[in-house]
C-alpha cells in the first residue's frame, strides 16, 4: 500500500485552535466543520463566513500567446475577459469530457491565474504543459505553492473585508490587487456559496494573520461540510460528483460556459452534443417527504431506473433532502415526479428549478 503524506495548509494550526474536525480531502488535511455544519451554513447565509480553500491550486499563464493558448484549451471565450476580470470555464478533452471546471483571472493583458480543484491540480497542470508546447509564446507556471486562498462569503462579507482594505473592493466577477491589513492580496469578487463575497489569494505566510483579523471582525470559520451544503443549495457543480471526464458540459447544464466558435479543444464534440441534445441532463431535485438522497442512489420513474444522484444532502436552509442527478432528458422538466432509491427505501422527489435556495416560498 502506497503511503501518502497529507498536505497541510498554512492555516492548519488555526483550524485546530478553532476546534475543527480535520478530515483527509483530495490529499489535504482539511477542516470539515468547527461549531457544526448547520450553524456555519447559517452564518454564511445571514452574516459572514470564511473558508480556507488553500488546497485549491493555481496555474499562471503568461507571455504574448497567453490569451491565444487559454482560448485553445478553455471552453469559454477568454478574449472577452477584461484585464481585472474573472471567468468560469471548463477544461475539456477532444471528446468533450470535462477534465476540470475552473475560474480564470486576467491579472494583466497577457498574464492569467487559473484556479484548479485540489483533486485535479496535477492532472490540469500536466494538460496545460502538454498543450502549451504548440504555443512557444506562452509560459505555464505551477503557482500552487505560492498562494493561500481564503473565501469570505455572506451578506456582510464585503463590509468586513472592506474594513481592512486600502481601497474599494473589486466588483463581482472582477479581480484586482488590494492591500488588506497591510498585506498584498488578489481580491476576487467570486465564490461558491450563492452569497455575495470575495475570494482572497495571498502569500502563504500572510494567511494566518489575515485569518485572525477576519475572525476578530466577527467572521465565522466555515468548513468543507457547509461549503458543500451551501453550494448544493444554489446548484453549483462539484467536480468528481456532478462533473467528470465521462460526462459532457451540455448534459451538465454548462453549455453557457462553452463558446464553440472559439475552436477550443473539445468544441467540435460539444457542438455536436448541443445540436443533437445530450443523452442525459443534470437536474436539481427536492425530496417531497422524509429521507436524504446521497451520491450514487438510483433515480426511478415508475419503478424503472432513469438516472443517478451525483450530489445529495440535507438542505439546512430548507430542511429537506436536496440534490442533483443525471436523468434521461424526458424526465428533466421542473415538476417531474421522481423516486429515489435511498438504500432500499423509495423516496418521492420532484425535479426543481435552479437555484434550490432561495426558492419562491423562502424568497417571498
Amino acid at each position: 500500500v502506497e503511503q501518502t503524506t497529507l498536505k497541510r495548509t498554512p492555516l492548519f494550526d488555526r483550524h485546530r485552535a478553532a476546534g475543527a474536525k480535520i478530515v483527509p480531502f483530495a490529499g489535504w488535511e482539511m477542516p470539515v466543520q468547527y461549531a457544526g455544519i448547520r450553524a456555519e451554513h447559517e452564518a454564511v447565509r445571514t452574516n459572514a463566513g470564511v473558508f480556507d480553500v488553500s488546497h485549491m491550486g493555481e496555474i499562471e499563464t503568461s507571455g504574448e500567446q497567453a490569451t491565444a493558448f487559454l482560448q485553445h484549451i478553455l471552453s469559454n471565450d477568454v478574449e472577452q475577459i477584461p484585464v481585472g476580470g474573472a471567468q468560469y470555464a471548463l477544461l475539456t478533452r477532444p471528446d468533450g469530457g470535462v477534465i476540470d471546471d475552473l475560474f480564470t483571472y486576467r491579472v494583466e493583458s497577457e498574464r492569467f491565474l487559473t484556479v484548479t480543484n485540489a483533486s485535479n491540480h496535477e492532472k490540469d497542470l500536466a494538460w496545460f504543459v502538454e498543450q502549451v508546447a504548440e504555443f512557444p509564446g506562452a509560459t505555464v507556471t505551477d503557482r500552487a505553492g505560492d498562494y493561500a486562498m481564503l473565501a469570505v462569503q455572506g451578506p456582510r462579507a464585503r463590509e468586513v473585508v472592506q474594513a481592512i482594505a486600502d481601497r474599494p473592493l473589486p466588483a463581482r466577477m472582477t479581480a484586482e490587487q488590494r492591500t488588506l491589513a497591510g498585506r498584498a492580496a488578489l481580491v476576487a469578487g467570486t465564490g461558491y456559496t450563492g452569497e455575495d463575497g470575495v475570494e482572497l489569494l495571498v502569500a502563504p505566510d500572510d494567511a494566518p494573520a489575515l485569518w485572525d483579523e477576519l475572525l476578530e471582525l466577527g467572521v465565522t470559520p466555515v468548513g468543507l461540510g457547509a461549503r458543500d451544503t451551501l453550494r448544493l443549495e444554489v446548484c453549483f457543480h462539484l467536480y468528481g460528483n456532478d462533473l467528470m471526464e465521462e460526462r459532457d458540459p451540455i448534459a451538465a447544464g454548462l453549455g453557457w460556459a462553452c463558446k464553440e466558435q472559439t475552436g477550443f479543444i473539445g468544441s467540435d464534440a460539444i457542438a455536436q452534443t448541443r445540436a443533437a441534445g445530450p443523452a442525459e441532463r443534470l437536474v436539481p431535485f427536492k425530496l417531497t417527504g422524509k429521507g436524504i438522497a446521497r451520491q450514487g442512489n438510483a433515480i426511478l420513474a415508475q419503478g424503472e431506473q432513469i438516472g443517478v444522484v451525483t450530489s445529495g444532502t440535507l438542505s439546512p436552509s430548507l430542511d429537506v433532502g436536496i440534490g442533483m442527478g443525471y436523468v434521461r432528458p424526458e424526465f428533466a422538466a421542473p415538476g417531474t415526479q421522481l423516486e429515489i432509491d435511498v438504500r432500499g427505501k423509495v423516496r418521492p422527489a420532484v425535479v426543481a428549478t435552479k437555484p434550490l435556495y432561495p426558492d419562491e416560498e423562502t424568497d417571498g
Binding site: 474536525k21 470539515v32 466543520q33 457544526g36 455544519i37 448547520r38 461540510g225 458543500d228 451544503t229 422524509k290 429521507g291 436524504i292 446521497r294 444532502t313 440535507l314 439546512p316 438504500r343 427505501k345
Partner: protein
C-alpha cells in the same frame, strides 16, 4: 453539545454503541464519541418493533448532514420498543446520547454475550 462523557453503568461495544442491561432487557444507543464523530444528526431511521437484531450487525441508520452511518447492535435479541421521539427530534442523539437519545429496547436472546462487551474504563482506554 455536551462535553465527552461515558457513564459507568453501561456496557460498550467497539463500534461506539452502548447497552444498559437490566433483567434480560437492554436499552441501546450510541456513545458520545459516536455522536461527536457523526456531527449533527438530522435523521434517524428506526427498525420496527418485533425485528430481530444480531450482535455486531446494523439495526438502524443515523444520518448527519454529511453522511449516513449504520448503528451496530451491541447484543442480540428482539426489539420490543423503539424511541419514536427521535423521528421528530433526531438531534437528541447529540444532546443526550445516554438519556433521551436512546434508540431501541431489546429482549436479549443470549445474556452471556454481555461478557464480550467492554466496561466503561476499558472503552475509554480504547478511545485514547
Amino acid at each position: 453539545m455536551a462535553d465527552a462523557s461515558y457513564p459507568e453503568d453501561l456496557l460498550y461495544h467497539p463500534e461506539h454503541d452502548w447497552a444498559k442491561v437490566d433483567d434480560g432487557v437492554a436499552v441501546f444507543g450510541v456513545t458520545w464519541f459516536a455522536q461527536d464523530a457523526l456531527g449533527e444528526v438530522v435523521y434517524f431511521d428506526p427498525p420496527e418493533v418485533g425485528t430481530s437484531v444480531a450482535k455486531d450487525e446494523p439495526y438502524a441508520e443515523v444520518e448527519s448532514v454529511k453522511a449516513v452511518s449504520d448503528v451496530i447492535a451491541p447484543l442480540s435479541g428482539e426489539i420490543i420498543e423503539v424511541n419514536t421521539a427521535l423521528g421528530d427530534s433526531p438531534e437528541t442523539i447529540n444532546t443526550d446520547p445516554y438519556g433521551e437519545g436512546w434508540m431501541v429496547k431489546v429482549r436479549l436472546s443470549d445474556v452471556s454475550e454481555t461478557d464480550q462487551l467492554m466496561d466503561q474504563a476499558t472503552y475509554v482506554e480504547s478511545l485514547s
